[in-house]
Amino acid sequence: MVEIVISAVLTTLIPLSLAALGEAVLERTGRVNLGVDGLMAVGAAVGALAGVETGSLLAGLAAGALAGGVGSLSYIILTDRLGVNMIVAGLLVFFAGIGLGDLVGSKIAGRPGPVLTSLYTTAATIGIAAAALHLILYNTVTGTALRVVGENPAAAEERGVPVWRLRLSAALVQGVSAGLAGYIMVAGLSYGKWYSGVTAGLGWVALGIVILGYWTPIGVLIASTAVSTVFSMRTQIAAATGIPPLADAIPYILVLILLAAGTHLYERIGLRPPASIWRRR
């Protein structure tokens, strides 16, 4: 019984935390990619195509990661090289990702592919990655440079910090994470079968998680765990309330409530997110 519950939590926690961790790294450089869900969608479809055609989970993961990386590269070129507003660029990536994902995925809809069975190993890897990311961000020169870029890119540039290179690297980390997360949703949550809307909007939840986790890898991991635990209880919630759609909406309601409470709380206690993005006042 306990194992079933843990598995249910992990199937959501793994993709959610992965996508959110990547986004947190990017946001630390002062760029918000609203297209996380689109990158997950395209990663899910391209990964599923590779997985179904080759029968290899590894091929699916590699293809998903590559697709996400390419998508995120487009985003950072649009914002940092072509001067497109980052909100518009993110939404473009989202819309294009959903469309492209459906286009690619419709070729293999319903066909079974490899299934991700090693949930514990994958979750442990993500846990270690989060801890390592935390260490890098707060205890290394690269991490400090990354955070400085998010605070004041102009000043960072002047002091010789390679702003473009750091943002490009962060965008690649973000895209690869989102692409992997998307394919893991196919290989884990839907047992290897792709279907339209497989990401279920979790990319948007991941963006909320970054705020809830206060842009720190460990915080993101904690927030992802909390939301995934509630999400995994949706069958019980549906049974208790007698309203199944309400249970499906639980993660979105939860993130909305936490955002309302958390954002206000952050302001009250004086915490400051990366200055060049979320600071609104």
Binding site: F95, D102, L103, G197, P245, L256
Partner: protein, 311 residues
């Protein structure tokens, strides 16, 4: 590049992209056939005009909010929820058209005001809150379709007779654009809205202020989204089934408003172009292409336009 030339480049690039992408599916000839049929077949032209009217109505409201600095994406939920509310008023409660309009407006206003209030009073990022609300509304609609509004053995609602044709839809869209333009260009609220986005400090000092401008902008924005929902119900979708994903009308309206550079008058040609692509996509669906191909092509149009404008 000048605006007209940029739109031309975007149109051309989208057509080329459509031709290339249809290689994966039915082939380039089918896409070209779709474009021609969408522009010449009377039923598809009607569909495209009504589709464009939905986008124009929804985007006319977005222009106001975006100018004020309230970047809401909740229009997706507002359009769908308004259409369902209007359907309830017409097919279940027997409230007639005034009742449908009122109920659609109330539902849309409730969503719009919540998003704006969260932003203004709790400083919650409105893009994220509105997107969460999009999914919450999606599941609520599914709950209604499979529960109280379910009719018969299948998970679908009662259907109504279509009551909006292309002429009515077009007239409604042009009226809404005109109202949006007048509000933005000829009223003191418009000055506040236009100042709030690019010059927030000046707006705080010399106008009603950013916060009030954002809150107030959510009112006409919500009403415009409700009108879009009513056009959707009366012109295209006279029955609702459970939704797997958001329908995309609101999302497309977001793209339209950015491509029109938040100018009400430019919304009409951009919406007609998006509707033309949607018409072609409608034909391609018969060949097994996914409906979201339309969203992909529309986003390519915006991306090319954005890049062309900076050259």
């Amino acid at each position: 590049m000048r605006r007209t030339a940029s739109i031309g480049v975007a149109v051309l690039s989208t057509i080329i992209a459509g031709i290339l992408l249809s290689v994966i599916g039915p082939g380039p000839a089918a896409f070209v056939e779709g474009l021609i049929k969408a522009a010449t077949t009377p039923s598809l032209v009607s569909y495209s005009v009504i589709y464009a009217a939905i986008l124009v109505a929804a985007a006319s409201g977005l222009v106001l909010s975006y100018r004020a600095g309230l970047i809401t994406i909740g229009v997706e939920a507002q359009v769908t929820a308004s259409a369902v509310a209007a359907l309830y008023a017409l097919a279940y409660a027997g409230l007639g058209l005034p009742g449908a309009l009122t109920l659609a407006a109330i539902v849309s206003l409730a969503i719009g005001i919540v998003i704006a209030a969260l932003r203004v009073y709790l400083d919650v990022n409105e893009i994220l809150s509105s997107l969460m609300i999009n999914y919450i509304v999606l599941y609520m609609v599914n709950g209604l379709v499979s529960g109280p509004l379910r009719e018969g053995a299948f998970t679908k609602t009662r259907s109504i007779e279509a009551f909006i044709g292309p002429l009515e839809a077009g007239l409604a869209a042009v009226s809404i654009v005109a109202l949006s333009w007048i509000l933005l260009e000829r009223t003191s609220l418009g000055i506040s809205l236009r100042a709030s986005g690019p010059a927030p400090r000046a707006a705080d000092i010399y106008t009603i202020g950013r916060a009030r401008a954002m809150l107030l902008s959510s009112l006409p924005q919500s009403l415009a989204a409700a009108a879009a929902g009513l056009i959707l119900l009366g012109g295209i979708q006279t029955v609702f089934t459970a939704l797997k994903q958001p329908q995309g009308y609101g999302y497309a309206a977001v793209l339209v408003s950015w491509m029109a550079e938040l100018s009400p008058t430019t919304l009409i040609p951009v919406s007609l172009f998006f509707a033309w692509i949607a018409g072609a996509g409608f034909i391609l669906q018969a060949y097994g292409m996914p409906s979201s191909l339309v969203l992909l092509l529309q986003s390519i149009a915006l991306a090319v336009y954005m890049v062309a404008r900076r050259l």
